[in-house]
Amino acid sequence: MHPLSKNPFNLTKANDYSDAQINDYWVDMPYGTGFLGMLKPSSPMPTLILGGKGSGKTHLMRYCSYEIQKLRHAGRLPLAIKSDGYIGIYTRCEGLNANRFSGKGQSIDAWRCVFEYYMELFLSDLLLAHVKDLLGSSPEFKRRESAFCRSVLKLFDEDDSEGPTKLDSLINSLRSLRRDIDEKVNNCAITRRLQVKVRATRSRLIFGIPKAIQMFSDLHGVQVLYLIDELENFSEDQQKYLFTLVRERSGPSSMKIGARLYGIKTYSTFSGDEEIKEGSEYEKLLLDEHLRSNPRGYNAFARRLIVSKLAESGPRDDDKALAIKADDIDQMLEGRKDSRFYEAETQQFVMKYEGREPPHFQKLRSKLSSAAKASRPPGAQNAGEISKIIDMLRVPGFPLLEKVNLMLLYKAWSEGANLAKSAHSIAGMCAEFQQPRGLQSIYGVTYGHFAQDLLAQLFRESDLPQRYCGIDSFIHMSMGLPRLLLIILKHVYNWAIFNNEQPFSGPAISAESQRKGVWEAALWFFDDAKSKGEEGAFLQDCLKRLAELFREVRFADKPVECSLCSFSANTSKISAKAKENVELAEKYSLLIRVQRGQRDRNSMRVDAKYQINSLLAPLWDLPIYRRGALPIDTELMGAIFDPDMVQTFDKLVASRIAGMNAPFHQKASKEKSAQQDLFYVVDTHD
C-alpha cells in the first residue's frame, strides 16, 4: 500500500466517519468539564450548538447518539443508558430533504402542517426503533409492549383502539404513513395536489413518546435527547417550527440543535412570533469560540486528537497514554531552532549574503542616497556619511540585530533627528543589549516586540521562505476548528511523502514539507470558507484588501504595530454594507471576533476587534499570533468592506503607509496622532 493511501488525516469530516470511527476518534478536552460537560446531554435545557465549519459539532452530537452510546457501553446496556441519563436520537436536517416542503402551488400553511407532521413521524420512528433495539429482548418489555403501543397510539388525534399491539408493527405503521407523505410531497409538483391527512397535533408524539417510555423500569428517569444537526439546511419557517418545539418542550425530553454560525435564519416561534429566550429557554454553546478561549486546553485536546488519528488501527489508548504520546508530537515536526538572537534561524541568510551587502543595507543606502539629493537628512548628506552610518549599524553574524538597528534609525529619520548621531547611539544600545540584562532596555523592548516581524522582513527581502512550522503553530492556526488542524496535517503529510520523508514514523517532518502543506491548507480554506456567488467572491476580495493592508504595515520600514493580524473599528459608524460583510466574514470564520474588543486610544470607546483567521496568514506572510491591533477608521473600513467604496482603497492605504516608510513624506503629525508611538506598543496578546 502506498504511504499516501495510509494518510491518517485523509478523513476530516465527522459525516464521513462510521459509528465506530466516531467512537474511536473521540477525544475529550483534558481540562475542565470536557465536551460532555459543555453540552450537558442529560440536562433538560435545550442547547443551540453553534460553530464554524469543522468545529466538531457533528462529532459531538453523534457521540451522544444512541448508536454510539451502544458502542461505548457494549455489554452494559440498558443499565449504562440509565446511568448516562439520556438516550440520543440523532438526525441531520440535510437527510430530510426539507426543501421539498415548499412551493409547488401550495400555501405556506399547508406545507407547514405537512412538514410538522412529517417531523413528528420521523423523530418518533427513530425513537421507537431505538427503544425496540434497547429493550426488545427484556421480559418487562414483552409484558408491557401492548400497553406501551396503546399509549403511543393515544397520542394521535384519532383514537385507534384497533391499532398495532406490537412495537415492530407500530414502527412499520409510522413508516408507512411517512412513505405516503413522501409520495404525495414528491409528486405534488406534477399533481399540484397535497392531500395529506394530518393525524397528530404538533409536538404530541415528539414529547408524548418520551413520557410513555417511562413505563419501562430501564428507561424510567431517562431523558430523550433529540440531536438535530445541520439546522442551516432548514428554511426560516422550518427553523421557526423547531424553535417552537424548544419553547413547547415538556416532559423527559430535550433538544440539542447544531448549526453553523451563519445557519440561524430566525429565533422566532409560532407562539405569537415571539423569539426564544437565551438563558431561560435555551443555552448557546459557541463551540469554536469556547475552544479558542481556552488555548491550553485546546492545545492539549488537539494533540490528543492527532495521537488518536495516528493510532487509528492500533488499540485504544487510555487518557494517560494519550497525554504522553501527545507530548511526543513536537519531535515529529521540525520546529523553530532556539538560539540567541535567532542566529540559527538566520544562518541561511548569513550564508546567502556572505561577502555581499545584505538587502536591508542596500535598501537603506539607496533610500538615504535618494534623500540626500532632495531633503538632505541631517548626518547623511553624502555617500561617505551614509557608509559610516551603515558601518555603525552592522552586527556581523546577527542580521536580526541589524534589522532592529535599522528600524530604530528609520524612526529617528522620521523624527528628523541627526542620523549619524542616532546611528552612533543605536550601535551603543545594540552592544549593550548583547550583554546580560540587556533585555530591559528600550532596545530590548523593541526587539521583544518586533523580532518576529523583523525576521519575517529578513526572509522576505532575501526571498527565503517564511517559517510556519511546529505543532503549536498548526494548532494555533486552526483557530479552534479541529478540522482545519486535520486539513493542515493532511497536506503536510502528503508533502512529506512527496519529499521522501517518513511522516510521524521517521525523523521529524522537514520545515519545507510543513511550509508547503500549510500553504495548500491555507489556499483550500480561503476557497472553501466563503458563501456562493458574487457575495462570496467579494468577501474574498475584502479579505485580500485587509490582508494587503496588514502586510504593508508589517513590512514597512517603521511598522506601527507588532505581530499585526487584527484590527479594531467602530462598527457602529461604518456603512451598512461594510458591516454586513464584516459579519459575513465572521460567520464564515474568515475573521475571528476578539471578545473583549479594543479600547480606542483617543476616546476610550470600546471598538469591535477582529483577527484575520491565522490559517490565512501564510498567503500574505502575516503573523499567526495576535499582538498589536490596527485601528481602522470608517473611511478605510468602507474601502475594504463596502463594494461602493473600494475604489478609494489604494489611495487610502498609500496615504496610511507613507508615514511608515522612508523618506516619511506623509505629515508626521497626522500619523502620530492617529497611531501610537513606536515605543508605545499596546501588548494585547492574550
Partner: protein
C-alpha cells in the same frame, strides 16, 4: 496574495499531479536526481532545471485505471459501435435490442484480436487487460503466428481460422507509424491473398495524427481507428505547441528546445527529441514510448542518465 517563485509553483503542480494522476511514482529525490542530469551544459544550471521542471509539470501520464478505462472505450467505440451502426443501417434502423445483440455476438465470434509485436511487447500486453475489462472469452485472442497454419496435404500455408471474418490488431501507441506497417504488412498481405473477403483492422489507443495517417495511407489495413489522437499541439516544440501557449514569462520555448536538443543529442544522437522527432511528453503505466523526449526516459548504461519516467526498451539480440 503572495506570489510564489515559479519553481515553487511548479513543484506544487507536480506534487498534485503525482498524487492524483501519476500514481505516486515520483518523489522529491527522484525529481532532484533527474534534474541533476542537467549540469549547465546548455544554459546556466538554474535555467536548465527550471525549464525541465516546467516540461515535467506538463507531462501527460496515463495510469493503470485510465488505461483500463481506455481499453473499455476502445472495444466500445472502435469495435462494437461501428458494427452496431452497420447492423441497424442494414436493418431499417432497427431498435430491436435482442436482434442487434444476437447479430453482434455472431460478429464477435467471427473476430480474432491480436497484439502488435511479439507477446512480450506492449501491444500484446494490452490484450490481457482488454479481455478482462470487456469480459471477452479468451478464444477470441490469438498470437500472430496462429493466423496461419500449413496444410498437411498440400504443405501450403492457409488461414488457420476458416470461419473468422475479421482480425483486429490492437496497439497501445502509434508514433510515426513505421513500426506497425513494418510488422503487419507482409502478414496482412498474405492473409488477404488467402481470403480477399477478410477484414483486417488496426485499433490503437494513442496515436500521433501523422503516424496514424501514415498507417491509413499505407492501405495495409482495411480500417485504422485511433481512440486518442495526438495532433500537432502535442508536439512539444512545434509551432502550435499546447505546452508553451500560456507559459510563465521565465519559460522560453526555444531555450527549452535547445536544452532538450543538447542533452537529447548526447543520449540518442539519431532522435534527440524522440523517435520520429515526435517530441512527445507522454507516458503510460506500463511504459514510456520512445517518441517521448529521451531526457525523460533514457535509461541505457551509456551515456549515464537518471530517467524520471523510465522506459523499458526492446532489446534486440542479433
Amino acid at each position: 496574495m503572495k506570489i510564489q517563485p515559479l519553481e515553487n509553483e511548479l513543484y506544487d503542480k507536480i506534487e498534485l499531479l503525482n498524487r492524483k494522476v501519476w500514481e505516486n511514482r515520483l518523489g522529491r529525490s527522484a525529481i532532484t536526481s533527474w534534474l541533476d542530469n542537467f549540469n549547465g551544459r546548455c544554459q546556466t544550471k538554474d535555467v536548465e532545471k527550471l525549464h525541465m521542471l516546467f516540461l515535467l509539470s506538463n507531462f501527460l501520464y496515463f495510469g493503470d485505471a485510465q488505461m483500463r478505462e481506455l481499453l473499455k472505450a476502445a472495444f466500445r467505440d472502435l469495435y462494437k459501435y461501428p458494427i452496431v451502426e452497420r447492423l441497424r443501417r442494414e436493418n431499417q434502423d432497427t431498435r430491436n435490442l435482442g436482434f442487434i445483440q444476437k447479430r453482434f455476438d455472431e460478429h464477435l465470434q467471427a473476430t480474432r484480436f491480436l497484439g502488435i509485436g511479439n507477446p512480450s511487447e506492449s501491444g500484446c500486453h494490452m490484450l490481457y487487460y482488454f479481455r478482462q475489462m470487456n469480459s471477452l472469452p479468451k478464444d477470441l485472442f490469438i498470437n500472430a503466428y496462429q493466423m496461419f497454419k500449413r496444410d498437411k496435404r498440400t504443405k501450403k500455408r492457409r488461414l488457420a481460422y476458416g470461419r473468422v471474418k475479421k482480425f483486429v490488431f490492437l496497439d497501445d501507441f502509434c508514433g510515426s507509424g513505421s513500426q506497425v506497417i513494418e510488422y503487419a504488412k507482409a502478414m496482412v498481405q498474405e492473409a488477404k491473398e488467402l481470403n480477399p473477403q477478410l477484414e483486417i483492422e488496426y485499433h490503437v489507443l494513442f496515436g500521433c495524427r501523422k503516424g496514424v495517417n501514415r498507417v491509413k495511407f499505407s492501405r495495409v489495413f482495411d480500417r485504422v481507428s485511433c481512440l486518442v489522437e495526438l495532433d500537432e499541439t502535442f508536439t512539444c516544440f512545434g509551432r502550435s505547441s499546447r505546452f508553451f501557449h500560456a507559459a510563465p514569462l521565465e519559460i522560453k520555448k526555444q531555450i527549452a528546445k535547445d536544452i532538450c536538443l543538447e542533452y537529447g543529442s548526447h543520449l540518442w544522437p539519431n532522435f534527440p527529441l524522440g523517435f520520429g522527432n515526435c517530441q512527445l511528453l507522454i507516458g503510460f503505466h506500463h511504459n514510456t514510448p520512445d517518441n517521448t523526449l529521451p531526457i525523460f526516459w533514457w535509461d541505457e548504461s551509456a551515456p549515464p542518465w537518471q530517467p524520471i519516467f523510465k522506459r523499458y526498451p526492446k532489446i534486440v539480440y542479433f
